[in-house]
Symmetry: C2
Subunit: 198 residues, 2 copies
DNA sequence: CTAAAATCAGGCCATGCGGTCTAAAAACGG
DNA sequence: CCGTTTTTAGACCGCATGGCCTGATTTTAG
């Protein structure tokens, strides 16, 4: 893949992200994206097979980048409790520097459907939840966590973190770091082994 | 409003809900909704001013019904702790009997935009969160809850409950009652005043 | 320098959209 | 029973969409 190809693809992907964040998935036509990028519509058609492939690339790029960003934070922790806190903190840290990207991806994941009407990115969206389930299970086996249902916990944590993005998008003054610390203590209390029963 | 008018409106609203749940907001054209209802497209235009009014009615009907369903459960509780549990349980109880309705409304709220590109139902969606904030604040003033940020808590609880709907839609075998109890203990642990410090 | 390949702009097309129009059918009142 | 009003079906309109095509322009290769 040539240099100019890669550059154009990056530019178009960026324009798609800006457009989706600004006007929503439904209004993000190829014409609008091209206008945002200040190029002709056919340039998109030349560099991407179709709109689906463009959206696929947007999602893949952001998700991969996000996972790569988080990995070192998780690997630095030895206990499950520490990894859970690091998970929450690093997801919010990434949010802080990639708001538009993540808003766009969230919009695409929820809305993009195949010809059968079913969401296309459902599996990709479920992956981080599955990862969290593993984290929680290991913490239970290590005796750090109480005996909750790890699926419910993982789902709720994921949703809680996504809620921070939604809230931040609606209230730009929000201190995301403080929000994250609230979540860390919240889910810390919710997961840890209760004190002695007596 | 005549009897037949009311019946037709109910039928069309029902068909809109079915359609949105089945194929998503984006693919829910008036033609599809009419097909689902086995009527002609113009019948919709006759009974509703336009698509926006139809969606408005769908959302309003479900949200009002939901709030009315929950009210007695909340009023039966005297403590903030009890009201929080009742809040979670009653929201999940309503979900159990109204899955398609709620999936459709969630989809519409997130996706429906005005001509300016901004979401239309943002305020209506924020109302339950504001209600929860009040509940949590009163619990803090009563000394039942610890000193968390009530906005973060309210947001996380709301998101956590919505997560149950999402998970249930993807995993039809889910026991919603058990899911709800997990949430009750989870947020119970997260909110209650810590034991004596020593 | 030139010919081939890659890249781009603008126009074009079939499709599906929301909404309207006309006329037929159904319901209703006297 | 008939005339009026309400309700419905189906055709139709203007518009935006995703995708494609043609031809011009730029880059690359020999």
């Amino acid at each position: 893949m040539s240099f100019i190809q890669a550059a154009r693809r990056r530019q178009i992907i960026g324009a798609a992200i800006e457009t989706v964040t600004a006007v929503g998935y439904g209004q993000s036509s190829l014409a609008r994206i091209a206008e945002q990028a200040e190029i002709s519509k056919s340039v998109i058609s030349y560099h991407f097979a179709n709109k689906d492939e463009l959206l696929e690339q947007v999602v893949a790029q952001v998700m991969d980048d996000w996972a790569a960003f988080m990995r070192p934070f998780l690997e630095a922790e030895s206990t499950a409790t520490g990894r859970l806190s690091a998970y929450i903190r690093s997801r919010l840290a990434y949010m802080r520097d990639n708001q538009t990207r993540l808003v766009a991806v969230a919009e695409i994941i929820v809305n993009h459907r195949g010809p059968d009407g079913r969401p296309v990115f459902a599996e990709r969206d479920a992956a981080p939840v599955a990862e969290l389930v593993e984290l929680l299970r290991s913490g239970q086996q290590a005796g750090e966590f109480r005996g909750f249902d790890p699926v419910v916990l993982a789902m709720t944590i994921t949703q809680g973190i996504d809620g921070a993005l939604t809230y931040w998008a609606d209230h730009p003054g929000t201190d995301l770091t403080a929000y994250g610390e609230e979540l860390v203590t919240l889910f810390g209390l919710a997961t840890q082994q209760p004190r002695s029963i007596s």
